[in-house]
């Protein structure tokens, strides 16, 4: 009787094994490396909100029996911590794809490790040119890179604003450096003059001395600025106090890229008046996919919350993974192959077509806005 029972159990186990293997095959493991601790943790919080929402939306669709399994890990915007974390994730979780990181320095640190492991890295927040210029085959990025962000600023500065002089302000990181260079080179090549390039660390709090210095340089036509929202608010206020920018009665036009989220203008107040910048995620955009995203976001997180581009990019990243699975991807190579074939895949932040370097080359929804006296955005017809 015991022997019969044991045989029965063994037969059951053997029958279950192919099912277990099959169910393992039907899971796509997504590692998410975001800063969850430290000063950069607000990226991680917003990124997680976007991905959690995307998971809910994907669950309502048909993924051909495949499940997305997401594991969040803290990389703290730090190259060292990101490196240690990604190695541990690769060893223990064995992801098919990693979404991350947000900060360019940490993103660059994990890229070669993921490349070596042949795991796709989908980046939705870093700007540095080095990520897609280093020849990695497994790196894809949906966030516009430094050149894609700075080139339109230069064009508008010279052609629309007739700017002759510029002062470039940027945070002292890979992202800030690349954006600053991305503006300086074409601006000078087009005949403009850069009066100063002023960098500052993320720990700089008071910008009065910087604003005073800029005021002493003479007439400044444009001030392209590449900093996070918190510092940008204080910088704008200092520039307005020094009467350098329009918002303070000066003549200089502050210019910015998609770094700045919705809501910045209200925080900076009158100092933001006349601020010109490019945006990619625009909550006022009428596209159905954008409005549906905002409705779903507010239903989940509160009617008084408007999603930022950080929420939107993270949301899109997860949707793209789901789309790749829908098109037949079963593993990392499959995801990589599908991503390479993506053409005009619509997401909230526009359309996705990856070029040979893995960079999204479609900037069709990127447009300019100018902050009005009532602190609202006005879309400009410049492209």
């Amino acid at each position: 009787m015991k022997h019969l029972f044991r045989s029965f159990i063994a037969i059951l186990a053997c029958a279950a094994l192919p099912l277990a293997v099959q169910s393992q095959d039907k899971v796509i493991r997504v590692g998410v490396l975001m800063p969850i601790s430290g000063p950069g943790s607000y990226f991680g919080v917003m990124g997680k909100e976007g991905i959690d929402l995307a998971l809910e939306q994907v669950a309502k669709t048909d993924l051909k029996g495949t499940k997305l399994q997401v594991q969040y890990e803290d990389s703290a915007c730090s190259p060292l911590q990101a490196t240690n974390t990604v190695k541990r994730v690769l060893d223990q979780f064995k992801p098919h794809i990693v979404i991350g990181e947000e900060c360019s320095d940490a993103t660059l640190a994990i890229a070669p490790i993921l490349e070596q492991a042949k795991v796709v890295q989908l980046n939705a927040g870093s700007v540095t040119m080095k990520l897609t210029e280093s020849g990695y085959k497994y790196v894809f990025r949906i966030f516009p890179n430094a050149e894609q962000q700075s080139a339109p600023l230069v064009k508008v500065a010279r052609e629309k604003l007739k700017a002759q002089t510029a002062v470039i302000l940027y945070e002292k990181t890979n992202a800030g450096n690349d954006n600053a260079e991305g503006f300086e080179k074409p601006f000078v090549a087009a005949g403009g003059k850069v009066l100063a390039k002023i960098d500052f660390g993320r720990d700089v709090n008071d910008f009065t001395a910087i604003a005073t210095r800029i005021a002493s340089l003479g007439k400044v036509d444009v001030l392209p600025t590449f900093a996070l929202e918190g510092q940008q608010v204080r910088l704008s206020q200092a520039l307005a106090q020094a009467r350098v920018v329009k918002g303070g009665g000066g003549s200089g036009v502050q210019m910015g890229s998609i770094w700045l989220p919705w809501g910045y203008d209200q925080k900076a107040g009158k100092a933001a008046i006349g601020y010109v910048r490019i945006v990619q995620f625009d909550p006022t955009e009428k596209r159905k996919i954008v409005q549906d995203f905002i409705k779903a976001f507010q239903a989940k997180y509160g009617a008084d919350k408007t999603p930022t581009h950080i929420n939107a990019h993270a949301y899109d990243a997860l949707l793209l993974v789901a789309e790749a699975v829908r098109r037949g991807a079963k593993d990392s190579e499959g995801i990589r192959s599908q991503f390479s074939k993506f053409k005009d895949v619509e997401v909230t932040t526009g359309r996705i077509t990856f070029d040979q370097k893995g960079q999204n080359s479609d900037l069709s929804v990127v447009h300019f806005v100018e902050t009005q006296p009532d602190l609202s955005w006005k879309g400009m017809s410049w492209q």
Partner: protein
Amino acid sequence: MTDFLTLFIQQSVNGVYLGCLYVMVALGLTLIYGVLNQINFAHADFVTVGAFAAFFTATRFATRVLGIPDTGAYLLSLFSALGAGALLGWLVSAAVFAPLRRSGADELRPLIATIGVSVLLENGQLALFGPIPYQFDSPLARETLRIGKLFISAQSVLVVAVSAAAIAALYAFMRFTFMGKALRAVAQDRETAGLMGINENLVIALTIVIASALAGVAGALLGPVVVLTPFTGASLIVKAFACVIIGGFGNMEGTIVAGLLIGVIEAFTVQYLGSGLIDLVVFAMLLAMLVVRPTGLVAERKEENV
């Protein structure tokens, strides 16, 4: 603003205001070191607690509950930050420093304890308030005073005024009150002060409370200037340590002079060398001071009549 004199005065004004912020953060550090011979690594977090206390008082309690207009709400928040800092200091003193002193702990254990308190406070605030920056606007930060081409925000004037008042109050306390003299006596020689009938535990607790209250007020002044997150205090603490070292450990006059000096040097470094070199210049100054005059800018008096 191309006139050299105007520029010089403007950057000096910017530097003094910045220096006052550093002094407010550094004063508490130097006070604790002077009496306890100990560095408080949690000081930055006391500053942050003060900033959040001020934020919630000004933007929620004073305006919505008490119906006080903006400026009054912000000024009230300075007092709430002072109270929050003092309360926190008393709690940490009672729960951490006092037991360690009673157990006869060496100097290392309280030092490590302050690191633990710092981690606890930072992560506690992160859990309570989240990492997304808060917008703390003082109505005074929006007002700009102009004299010719010179400009200064009303917030900056407040920072200088409050710093001056805090320094004057502290000086008066130390000079003219019994507890102040007792504090100085304990700082000079704890054992002898005890033999003279001074309750050293009470004095030490009072020192920590005063230092923490100062940190709280520093946070309230900082809030409208910085990006307010649970990591706000950390962005200034390194400069505060530089003030303490350059001024002389435990030397209040030295800390004040050092803070103002660092602020002014920073402003002129931004003007003539670039903001990216601020840290290099300040820490070069710190190293030079340690080599040339390790006791600090202001010489420590060895004897004085209490």
